[in-house]
Subunit: 336 residues, 2 copies
Amino acid sequence: MKRKSVTSRDVAKLAGVSQSAVSRSFSSDAKVAEKTRKKVMAAARELGYRPNSIARSLITRSSRTIAVVTYSLDNPFYAFMLEKASRFFQQQGYHLLLFFAPSDRGFDTVIDEIIRSQVEGVLLLAITLDNAQAEEVADFGIPVVIINRTVNYAGISQVGSDNFSGGYWAGQHLASLGHRRIAYLAGLPDSSTDHQRHAGFIEGLATMGAACHALEVGNYRYTDACDATRRLFAAKSPPDALFCANDVMAIAAMETMRHEFGLMVPNDVSVIGFDDVPMASWPSHSLTTLQQPVDQMIMKATELLMGQIHQTDTTPEHVTLPVTPKLRSSTQRLAR
Amino acid sequence: MKRKSVTSRDVAKLAGVSQSAVSRSFSSDAKVAEKTRKKVMAAARELGYRPNSIARSLITRSSRTIAVVTYSLDNPFYAFMLEKASRFFQQQGYHLLLFFAPSDRGFDTVIDEIIRSQVEGVLLLAITLDNAQAEEVADFGIPVVIINRTVNYAGISQVGSDNFSGGYWAGQHLASLGHRRIAYLAGLPDSSTDHQRHAGFIEGLATMGAACHALEVGNYRYTDACDATRRLFAAKSPPDALFCANDVMAIAAMETMRHEFGLMVPNDVSVIGFDDVPMASWPSHSLTTLQQPVDQMIMKATELLMGQIHQTDTTPEHVTLPVTPKLRSSTQRLAR
DNA sequence: ATGAAAGCGCTAACAT
DNA sequence: ATGTTAGCGCTTTCAT
């Protein structure tokens, strides 16, 4: 049975106190006699009263809400981050408003919704803002932290890992293993992570006098990566080593090579991924990869956001955390 | 630079109209002359005005917000569902408040937050409510839909798939393949899904005159499932077939059997999972499993929730959707 | 310590 | 079509 919303006024009447006494009884830093609070709580329980957070937010002008925006959850790396970050905010007494970036433009609508919602902070998972968008949000004084993308805007904090160095290590390592036809399986072509990993890779190869043998785009997605792999290995001169811009694609590539091309990893082809998702360490894949420090990234990002929310004088930071090569059995020295 | 919050009043002043004209200009079903709206919009743009959703919600008494509660995102099955459901609500103009069920009790706190937030509906992903909790929420007239768990409370809708039949098929199929030592790798011991899959399994085995050879608990989690598998195969009489209550555990079991016990799947052991997550169809795993109709489940659940939000006379439904056996290569007839 | 009163920023009658 | 008025349910001075 639907209760007609009970207000603090109703509770006050029943308890025989003023409405503000009720309000005080429900706030932690109360200047209320223990006796009145008891009375109020009893009345509240009887009526099934719950303070209306919306009314509270309106008057205190604080929503205690964080918006998290993400692109997709089918990369476990981001699902994990979302969970971690959410639990953190929840524990801090914040609510979490979740938005998915629409594929078909319309991202400005999301920004508008976020602003209207009076959120106190925005966390962007693998999403970036163009200058107009950044300015729009900044103009309202809403702190923003971006994870795993860069922005062209000084007012916004970002935390990511050292993609360039990761790519560099991958390139150098594969070349030093004696591979000659080293290919790149690219992520989203317009993402900063892809650019940086790619650039590092090229440079790492260069230190060994090598160059990128072939490149196909997998958009950081499993099925796209399967297709890209097919193109790569159907070529006249197929790769003998492959650096993939993330683990999901690396696993897709290994599956495709093994089961459609009858190739062995690492005997015929060495493979390196990026992220170190849990799956990467499963024995079937045992993927050599570059570990991103997820926990640190989340910690830093949430810390930054909280800092900017609480002290308005905090200056935005651009944090780059180190990646760690994880040597597993998807790479080996080229058999002569 | 932080703009001091601009209100509709400010816009009204600048546009030379009344405050309510501003309000009307920002509502779709407007009784406003095109000319006034133009003026208002111009002034709004100049000041950077955005309607405050909180104030709007307070007066309209509708938050246009749905709460989604989940336990964890490390099963891709639920990550996928969350994304699907979120996108749906977002597209319908609803906001999504995300909560993670705290492991250490404290779930009542989440319920309290949900009620205070004035959400219009609650979607529970693989989470159930005890009677007191169900009553609490129902008392406030908040529609609730539970996915993949059952409730002991008539006022709440639930949608799930036919776990019993799935288990039944698995038991019967494994027995009919000639296996004699068929074990069960259980999910969370107190979940309805586990009970039903288990019960169906036992019954399915029984039709073939077989019984469950061994049981270990994997809590629906990868690492727990690895441990459970070790226990299962370290036994004097290890299984020759295994039904796992979900795909994640089935994959964990296959990894462990293959790489720690040197067993072949399906030659030495047949394995069946449950869910049909994308990973299950990857060639390395090629897992025979019971496909849950995720899309239908989400569609039905969101439809039910929307129905209950919009017509208060909608009666709660308990929907059970059929599962589909997906025969892949993790099962085969026992070699004689 | 408590109550009265004044709004938070908006929508929705009600007049005009 | 537009303005005036009265709140939505709460927090927060300000007196007492």
